[in-house]
């Protein structure tokens, strides 16, 4: 019979106190695993989505909101900016590349983004099948959109006004899927890309239609109508964008360009790096608190395992002495006690890691936003450290009782009884 089996059976003979120890370790590890997974995923998403974007220019308002809406597609846009002014900025010598964005519609919660080919090169997009959009109302959809909405090339769908919900559907123009993107592992997986003109037409038609329906009570003015919208699309007057994603030409621009935008135009410039850091420092306080809380639970777990083994050692002094008379060496007793500590924390750690993953997956499934969805279905290499820490705690808590068992004088224990 191996020492391991003796340890195992001994723990089983006290299921309640063993369960308590395992539970404490599991909670501590669980919270730490959860924090590790969540902060890693959030950090990765933030970095991944903003990595090549130096600045975002949009309507005045909260800079954080501008970043969230134009880079992460989570919040509402701050408003619109005039196309004319945006174009002037894009021509500025400080700017290497400017990507226009026109937001405002969605399809089942997936945002429809009007943009141009600069967007493709900014995110280094590739198509998995089909091609990039070329004409009006043609779309190229993200891999995740294709999967969740079961859209294929050639399928048509109607966009709805707003960023989520499908109450206000643009019924008169259907979008056509002309291409599907390769999975990028960033926000573009959840986007529907089209040209800016489509977004404008969708909305100006809406107004025209409403007017036409109202004025002419169902009279068809198809030719005239088409003519009007084309004309409208050609001129810049009155046209608006949501925001502009900007890549600098040189690092020098950092110092001058944002200030120039903020002081000389009606628009604001926000830096993704700055705003992400600000956002993280806001969440960070909470993460830190939770982390310390989890470490505290782990410490309590260690003390609890120690007390459990120490107390049981007092009761088992005689048992251990008997084992010695049966031929067990000091080393074997040491191993038996250490093994008990390790078994407790090993089970606890494994349970805790599983718990962390399951809880995060559950949290993820309740999240509304597709773009920032968290998942428990990934393993991080850092989790090995949690695992090692768990086992370390087991050894740490068991080493004093084990040494005591190792040193005990069996003759005096046996003669006391």
């Amino acid at each position: 019979m191996s020492p391991l089996k003796i340890s195992w059976k001994s723990l089983w003979s006290k299921p309640l106190s063993s369960a308590l120890n395992i539970l404490l370790v599991a909670f501590g590890t669980g919270i730490l695993a959860l924090l590790l997974l969540a902060s890693k995923q959030i950090g990765d998403k933030l970095d991944n989505n903003s990595k090549d974007i130096d600045l975002v220019v949009g309507a005045k308002g909260s800079p954080l909101q501008l970043i969230l809406s134009s880079i992460y597609y989570i919040d509402f846009p701050t408003g619109n900016i005039p196309l004319k002014e945006a174009k002037e900025l894009a021509r500025s010598p400080f700017v290497k590349r400017a990507v226009p964005l026109a937001l405002g519609d969605n399809y089942n919660g997936m945002r429809i983004v009007g943009t141009d080919t600069n967007f493709i090169s900014l995110y280094k997009l590739k198509v998995q099948s089909g091609q990039f959009w070329s004409g009006d109302f043609q779309t190229t959809i993200g891999a995740e959109v294709a999967r969740t909405q079961s859209l294929k090339i050639g399928d048509t769908f109607y966009g709805a006004h707003g960023l989520s919900g499908s109450r206000d559907v643009h019924k008169h123009h259907a979008y056509v899927v002309s291409g599907i993107l390769e999975p990028q592992g960033n926000v573009t997986d959840n986007l529907i890309l089209t040209n800016i003109a489509s977004i404008w037409k969708m909305h100006s038609d809406e107004e025209e239609h409403a007017k036409a329906d109202h004025d002419h009570e169902g009279h068809e003015l198809e030719a005239d109508h088409n003519h009007k919208t084309e004309e409208a699309a050609d001129s810049e007057e009155g046209k608006e964008l949501t925001s502009l994603l900007i890549q600098y030409r040189s690092p020098m621009s950092v110092a001058i360009f944002p200030r120039m935008v903020n002081e000389t135009t009606n628009m604001q410039a926000a830096s993704p790096a700055q705003e992400s850091t600000r956002l993280f420092s806001l969440i960070g306080v909470g993460v830190d608190t939770l982390q310390w809380f989890a470490v505290l639970i782990m410490l309590i777990a260690a003390v609890s395992v120690f007390v459990n083994l120490y107390n049981s050692l007092k009761e088992r002094n005689y048992d251990l002495a008997i084992m010695r008379t049966l031929g067990a060496s000091r080393g074997k007793l040491f191993v038996i006690i250490i093994a008990e500590g390790i078994i407790l924390t090993l089970i606890g750690t494994l349970l805790g890691l599983a718990l962390g993953h399951v809880v995060l997956e559950v949290i993820g499934s309740y999240q509304e936003s597709n773009q920032a969805r968290l998942t428990g279905m990934v393993l991080l290499s850092d989790e090995i450290y949690l695992f090692l820490a768990g086992i370390g705690i087991g050894i740490f808590a068991a080493v004093i009782p084990a040494l005591q068992a190792y040193r005990s004088n069996i003759s005096s224990i046996l003669s006391k009884n």
Binding site: K9, D319, R324, G327, S415
Partner: protein, 209 residues
């Protein structure tokens, strides 16, 4: 063959007990007599290799046991000495069979369920082999502890006050079992006691004064 030569043990700087030399022939039965406090337990611990005497030599089967390393001595004891304590101490978290398997594995012997069955049969408690110690009566536990002591066919079987807490009838039964088992396993038997009822069963006596 077991022998003690000029063994003495010093408890503290003032207290010392010397034991007279003792030659124990293979398979013989000995009574170790002495009142409480006369050093009976000390002598038993010295013979079984639990307590190293401050001077003198103890040999079992021509091995001077205190010349062995701590680890080797533990294993030697596991193989060659079976001890029956005044009260049967079994590991509560293990079944009867597991307790006996543990005794085999601590002595570094292979697990032998047939041997366990055989010993439990001979002690008439084979039907309890899968029970846990707390499901057994005191008398049954005593028999299991005898089984554990003889499971590895030891050279020396030692019983410390095996009858002191028993009534006449049970005391006689336990003594009979000890005699039987030591004969069955070809072990030398030493019974340490101050119990006068036991005296008549033995011809060899080592008396502590």
């Amino acid at each position: 063959m077991i022998s003690l030569k000029s063994v003495a043990h010093q408890y503290s700087s003032s207290q010392q007990i010397s034991f007279k030399d003792w030659e124990i022939g293979h398979g013989s039965h000995w009574l170790l007599l002495g009142d409480s406090g006369s050093g009976k337990t000390t002598l038993l611990h010295i013979i079984t290799g639990i307590l190293k005497p401050t001077q003198g030599k103890v040999s079992i089967k021509d091995t001077s046991i205190y010349n062995l390393s701590s680890r080797a001595l533990d294993q030697f004891r596991g193989r060659n000495v079976g001890i029956i304590f005044q009260r049967p101490h079994l590991i509560k978290s293990l079944t009867i069979t597991e307790n006996l398997v543990m005794a085999q594995s601590f002595a570094n012997l292979p697990k032998n369920l047939q041997r366990i069955e055989e010993v439990l049969q001979s002690l008439d408690i084979a039907h309890k082999k899968n029970a846990y110690p707390n499901e057994l009566s005191q008398g049954q536990l005593q028999r299991v502890s005898i089984a554990r002591a003889v499971i590895n066919k030891p050279e020396l079987l030692i019983a410390d006050e095996p009858t002191s807490s028993l009534d006449d009838k049970n005391a006689e039964a336990v003594l009979k079992l000890l005699m039987e088992q030591s004969a069955l396993n070809e072990a030398t038997l030493i019974v340490a006691t101050h119990d006068k009822r036991v005296k008549d069963a033995f011809t060899n006596t080592y008396e502590l004064t």
